[in-house]
Amino acid sequence: MTLQNGVVMLWADWWDLFQHFLSYSIASIGGPLVLLPEMHHFMVTEQHWLTDGQFSASIVLAQAAPGPNILFVALMGWNIGLNAGGYLAGFGGAFLCMVGMLLPSSAVVFITAGWVQRNRDLKAVRAFKQGMSPIVIAMLIASGWTLATANTEAAHDWPLWLITTATTLIVWRTKIPMLWLLAAGAVLGASGLV
């Protein structure tokens, strides 16, 4: 993550950035990751506020760190702030982007969830929850699958796949704390065994 100094962020630019995240938030049906191409186009290609490397590092780091993966948005704002000035701007950028990304969708969820809860006995509401269940469970398994197989190939990365398979069985069938498994994965990875 090299610093790209010389990015100039005026108040109008911050406002522009904030507005873009407000619209990403509303558009993020199916998960925020579907919007990555648009975010990349706006912040990297069009405005040059972020480098390519910073953009992908933000996603990778948020995924590697504990906490919600949506924190990649905060890291993007953080990097833009660093590029534009320094740590203070970094904090400001992280906060601004995160609030923009959360405000509209959270409001929609809050209002809808209340309605769903009050009308939980309606046939249509029950049908929606029950009908969607098998689809969203499959999506969960699919995102694990995609994470495990993206950027890997069988000939070279089979030990990684072995870890994924073994861990899946352990978590599925036992109550072993998941943090231990993560630590084991980190140790195996750091020692160069996988």
């Binding site: 590092a57 906490g67 924190l71 959360l102 469970i137 999506m139 998941m178």
Partner: protein
């Protein structure tokens, strides 16, 4: 939805610390920890309820895990619960991720660090898969029945993971079909 007494958050601080605890452990994504904390440990939701809430959270705009935390917070404490849940989910993790970003700028090209991240990535993807597999048991109580649920799940997995169709297409297409089938089934039972 049954009416028997069940566990629920005792206070706003119970809510805050529960979400903090699961968020701070959630490497690679918090969902697996959410399921373990809310269903197994705290028992605020049964596995069936967790799946139904998840179905709503996943079809709304925004990150599904956060949406679920908003829904849980709102149910017990209204808007205050929402703010407290979100604070729990974000406060410690956002500080950690910024520290990590600073560290990454210095140590990001260290092969041991890269290796550790790779190893943890392999485990994190397993957490998603295993959580999904655990939730499969809810097919037994789904009005669609085990067979139809399985077919829909297999179709969704294949189109998303193997054929790489867009998630939104599947939510609307297969999800819409599933909702209509379920609605007809519920109506014919009534």
């Amino acid at each position: 939805m049954n009416t028997q007494a069940r566990h629920q958050p005792e206070s706003l601080s119970d809510l805050f610390f529960s979400f903090s605890r699961l968020a701070i452990q959630g490497f690679g994504g918090v969902l697996a920890y959410m399921e373990r904390e809310l269903v197994d440990k705290k028992q605020w939701l049964t596995r069936e309820e967790f799946v139904e809430e998840w179905a709503v959270a996943r079809t709304m705009p925004g990150p599904a895990a956060l949406n679920l935390s908003i829904m849980v917070g709102a149910r017990y404490f209204g808007i205050r619960g929402v703010l407290v849940s979100l604070a729990g989910m974000f406060m410690l993790p956002s500080l950690l991720v910024l520290m990590l970003a600073l560290g990454y700028a210095r140590f990001g090209d260290n092969p041991h660090v890269l290796g550790a991240v790779r190893g943890m990535g392999a485990v994190a993807s397993a957490l998603f898969i295993a959580t999904g597999l655990k939730l499969l048991t809810t097919f037994r109580t789904n009005v669609l029945g085990v067979l139809r649920c399985s077919l829909l799940a297999i179709a969704s997995f294949t189109t998303i993971a193997l054929l790489h169709w867009g998630v939104v297409n599947i939510l609307v297409g297969l999800g819409g079909l599933a909702c209509v089938l379920t609605y007809l089934k519920i109506r014919s039972r009534a």
